[in-house]
Amino acid sequence: MSSPITPVLTANWGTDRSWTLDAYTRQGGYQALAKALTKSPDEVVAAVKDSGLRGRGGAGFPTGMKWGFLPPYDEANPTPRYLVVNADESEPGTCKDIPLMMASPHTLVEGVIISSYAIRAKQAFIYVRGEVLHVIRRLRAAVAEAYAAGHLGPDSPAGVDLIVHAGAGAYICGEETALLDSLEGRRGQPRLRPPFPAVAGLYARPTVINNVESIASVPAIIGKGADWFASLGTEKSKGFVIYSLSGHVTRPGQYEAPLGITLRELLDLAGGVRHGHQLKFWTPGGSSTPILTDQHLDVPLDYEAVGAAGSMLGTRALQVFDETTCVVRAVLRWSEFYKHESCGKCTPCREGTWWLVQVLTRLENGQGNAADLDQLLDQCENIAGRSFCALGDGATSPVVSSIQHFRDEYLAHLEHGGCPFDAAASTAWAPRQEVHA
């Protein structure tokens, strides 16, 4: 059987000094840029539309369509428009963009240049979270090399300038309008939409914001063709993506494959759940996507099928937890994260995440009562759909889905008078479980 692994974005990660211009160019780097420059900007936009590429940052919105929302470009009276790359990778479980920028920053830089050319932006930004020092070094070095090689700069063929901008620690800045406020030197709080960034984004100018993996996919689409890209994946979820396996897996890591692979297939590649243990629950795309269980091993991991299973594909951040893990503890910790990262702008999220933590703490310590579960669901109803941005919605996902799948485990905490699990058993260094045949 042929392997489902299709290395495109990850293909050069293992090569010597893969982050340098020299290594990238030797592997065919910047040929897609040369090809793009032979086309008109509109033809490049059309190719991205035809490829079916959907945003890889979680929402899955068609990238070409997003570009198409920009107002028509006025040749006679050009006004600034911007490309901003969202490299604020912070969704718990998500760990694909950071290794991509560490190993092959030029893939992203080439994508930025082609995409800027397509949307006629002369200034682009990569907004990268501040907590990844070496990734920022690699990105800056790559940008400097691209300037020196004549790929970037006002006199380069595409005429694009690119600034690598380091954030300062705020999960909310992954939300695209909060990112724009942050990039303008403000508190990173989301903006009311409309107007959408395509109309009034950075400095109130037309702006496209895309995830790292989305923009990094553009050179391959241009280089190998939209048809090739669209031939991979499923009918409505086209192309390849990076799946990130973490947690109680024998070989956690990055697995690049066409959309639609299942967790069962991915676990086969990764050596399965760690020896002697069984899958208990998992997130398909980060902590903001409702958890799934061993009943969902054969759900194709594309936008449609995961949605039909009651969750979201999100960032394909597959956090795998085995039977040693207390689901209440896991959900409490995620809730503490959302409470900490709520930007405070809107009341349902700011106050609601605070209350979720109060109730979940009580339950985890065995001090609550059965009515607390209804209380939690009621609180979630008052957060989801009533918050200013998706952070509030995301905060309710683990709570609601865990009660749906593991209500008995919550109740067991009450009967036991505390958490019935041994936290030591779930650690990476827990004694190896003996399996008896």
Partner: protein, 206 residues
């Protein structure tokens, strides 16, 4: 301590990199930390003056982001991920043992001023859990023992190299890089760690 002429000029230079000067505020605050060891009132005033903002406006930004510190940070900042996945994989135990080992609480600095310990949120390295960050460099697949050895080495001034990154500099030097002043060390370290290559490795020999 006040902001000297060199730093003031660099702050102006950062503001000048952007189409609109205020966009430089986040990197400017990183530079303030690299010089002052925290965000000081003097640093806030300098940023405000350069950008034509009030000190309150700059403070409002500085207090929003967790990487900006109002208390002095030690020579090294050690961040232990205690978000769910790392916590479950052992991050909670690592953090507890480090607190005891260093005799500090969360967001506190050792008496010798060498190490500030903090629990941090998900740092996008879940396939290397449990993860510890030193001055925002990755230390992958940690254990309580390896983490204690790590902080002992930092306190003793021994050379320490990140799992996927460079030889460890000081927290202040790291903040200077975040402000946009390169230290020329991008070529240190590997392309990727083992987990990043896990998918590729399944193809080996095929």
């Amino acid at each position: 301590m006040s902001i000297n002429a060199t730093t003031y000029a660099e702050l102006q230079e950062i503001a000048g990199r952007y189409p609109q000067a205020r966009s430089g505020l986040l990197p400017m605050l990183h530079l303030v930390q690299s010089v002052e060891g925290r965000v000081t009132p003097e640093g806030i005033n300098a940023c405000a003056e350069i950008l034509g903002l009030t000190a309150a406006e700059v403070s409002g930004v500085a207090t929003f982001y967790t990487m900006y510190k109002r208390k002095p940070v030690g020579e090294h900042h050690v961040g232990v991920c205690t978000n769910t996945l790392c916590a479950v994989m052992g991050g909670d135990q690592i953090f507890a043992e480090l607190k005891e080992h260093l005799q500090v609480g969360n967001d506190e600095t050792t008496a010798d001023g060498k190490v500030t310990l903090e629990h941090v949120e998900c740092n996008a390295a879940c396939d290397y859990a449990p993860v510890v960050m030193v001055n925002w460099e990755f230390f992958d697949n940690q254990t309580p023992a390896s983490a204690k050895q790590l902080v002992d080495d930092l306190r003793a001034g021994r050379e320490v190299t990140a799992s996927r990154g460079a030889k460890i500099c000081s927290w202040r030097e790291a903040e200077r890089v975040l402000a946009g002043y390169d230290d020329g060390r991008a070529d240190e370290g590997p392309s990727a760690g083992d987990a990043s290559l896990a998918g590729l490795k399944t193809l080996e020999g095929k």
